[in-house]
Symmetry: C3
Subunit: 217 residues, 3 copies
């Protein structure tokens, strides 16, 4: 078989690899065994796309059928398994890589939804789910309530903006490589900027303190 | 686009809205952020139908493609987010609304399964799952073991009875609007009656007390 | 309807029944109610095949459509519900039955993937998931992080070997009944041997003890 040199595919493989690192790290922190580390790397790297493909009827999903993506996921898991103490110290790099993976997943996922002709809204939803689904699976498999639902960070917001931008550009027939690059950089920059500036989503207002305060939110 | 005035669709939208309230409340109680509240409202309001559509091959599922249903789910989530202290006090109303949503979901879900020609048994199962799937997703996403599996309430039982009744009426070719109304009212009444009368499912018999009693159940 | 006497189907029904026992036991230990016990029996007995069928596009999945498989799952759940104290003492038998179910599920699951023409790799993955998916669902529904990811046992490894062997034999056009029997016995024997000899998967190396040791693994 020939080497995959198509740029889009290459970027997707890199995104899977980066997300797999995050899944592998979560598994190692829970003291999972080698199989558990590989499963978490796979679920985090490819779970978002798996959910997308099931929802748009693209079976079998690339997450179980494309050897390059599976190799990227398991490669990321293995790397974590053998080298995690050093990678633990690279926390800042992991955040940057993860933001890049998010941006790429959203572009790829929304585009695939549109190619399968599921409609604007469904394409935006599966684009968002491609970006955030892997992390949700990672948290559920390690016995945690998904972090993305409660940490108040702007993670899904840049993803949703990117998915809408992709679908709008597709509909306007201007989704060329420059627009794609702008969307990826936009999501990536928005995500990193929100971290640096400490932007946070609201939670429900706490009840004012008082005798009945214990019942609050 | 024209206003949706079809009665069945209108009832389904109301059912999604009611279920979304329950999901939003669960998220607020866990102190989830705004995104988490919206996701829980969506998963609880539309998760049952999403599972149904994936199982019968109806992709993309209406839970990601129909803007009216998505608007109902997110509307319910937003309402909870801004007004939850007042809604917390409406616990009794929420139970009644939830019973109505259950009844509607079962009718709609079973009918859709039959329309997709999946067979009697599969239609009953997806009808049941349409009714209870959202609550199961809600519990899993908030880190809880699903309440419906352990609270001994008759929730799935009225749903299953309604699904069987729907499929029988379909097969007998008598599923007209009056029979549909009877099924919805039957499930709704059965559910509320079981709460008022305290009917409970059995759990496994506890071991008789004694030296080895700690191993029981 | 005529009695199902086809050997392969009969074996699959037995496998579902055995897996359902394991699911029912887990539910009883959590003090789930009758409905919870039946759902856990169903999810454990048929969940792996359900995941497989969704991933290969075989809707509706047999896990909601084939009455014989559903009867086997609910029968296993009911048996546990009424007779669990005696079955608890049969722990050793349950392990043996479970190894047999694993072997059958892997053969059946991989073969079905190949019949649906999903490709070698995807068939191996769905074969593996058919074998291990039910146990993962069982653990998630009882609020546990999946045991298979952390208990260091060789459970997925024999399953993966069996799935690869099945796919290789299919491609070589030699997957006759003798080869099928050899694969099932091989997975079964490999699994039991690994338990008897105490083979274990590695976890990540613990940090050497020391002041910073608490951050390890």
């Amino acid at each position: 078989m020939t080497l995959p040199i198509h740029l889009g595919t290459a970027l997707e493989i890199i995104a899977v690899f980066c997300a797999a690192l995050s899944g592998g790290l979560a598994a190692v922190r829970k003291n999972f065994d080698l199989f558990g580390v590989l499963v978490l790397a796979w679920a985090t790297g490819l779970g978002g796309g798996l959910i997308r493909d099931v929802l748009i009827g693209a079976t079998p999903p690339v997450g179980i059928a494309d050897w390059r993506l599976l190799a990227a996921a398991f490669g990321g898991g293995l790397l974590i398994f053998v080298a995690h103490p050093r990678l633990e110290r690279m926390r800042r790099s992991v955040i940057v890589l993860d933001a890049g993976a998010l941006a790429l997943f959203v572009l790829v996922g929304t585009t695939k939804g549109l190619e399968y002709d599921v409609g604007f809204l469904a394409a935006v939803v599966v684009g968002l789910l491609t970006g955030i689904g892997g992390g949700i699976l990672r948290d559920l498999l390690t016995g945690e309530s998904p972090l993305i639902l409660q940490d108040r960070q702007l993670y899904a917001v840049p993803a949703a903006v990117g998915a809408v931008a992709t679908a709008v550009a597709w509909r306007a027939d201007v989704l060329n490589v420059w627009v794609q690059a702008a969307i990826v950089l936009g999501v990536f920059g928005f995500r990193l900027l929100s971290i640096r500036l400490g932007w946070a989503l609201p939670t429900t207002p706490r009840r004012r303190s008082g005798p009945s305060g214990m019942m609050g939110g």
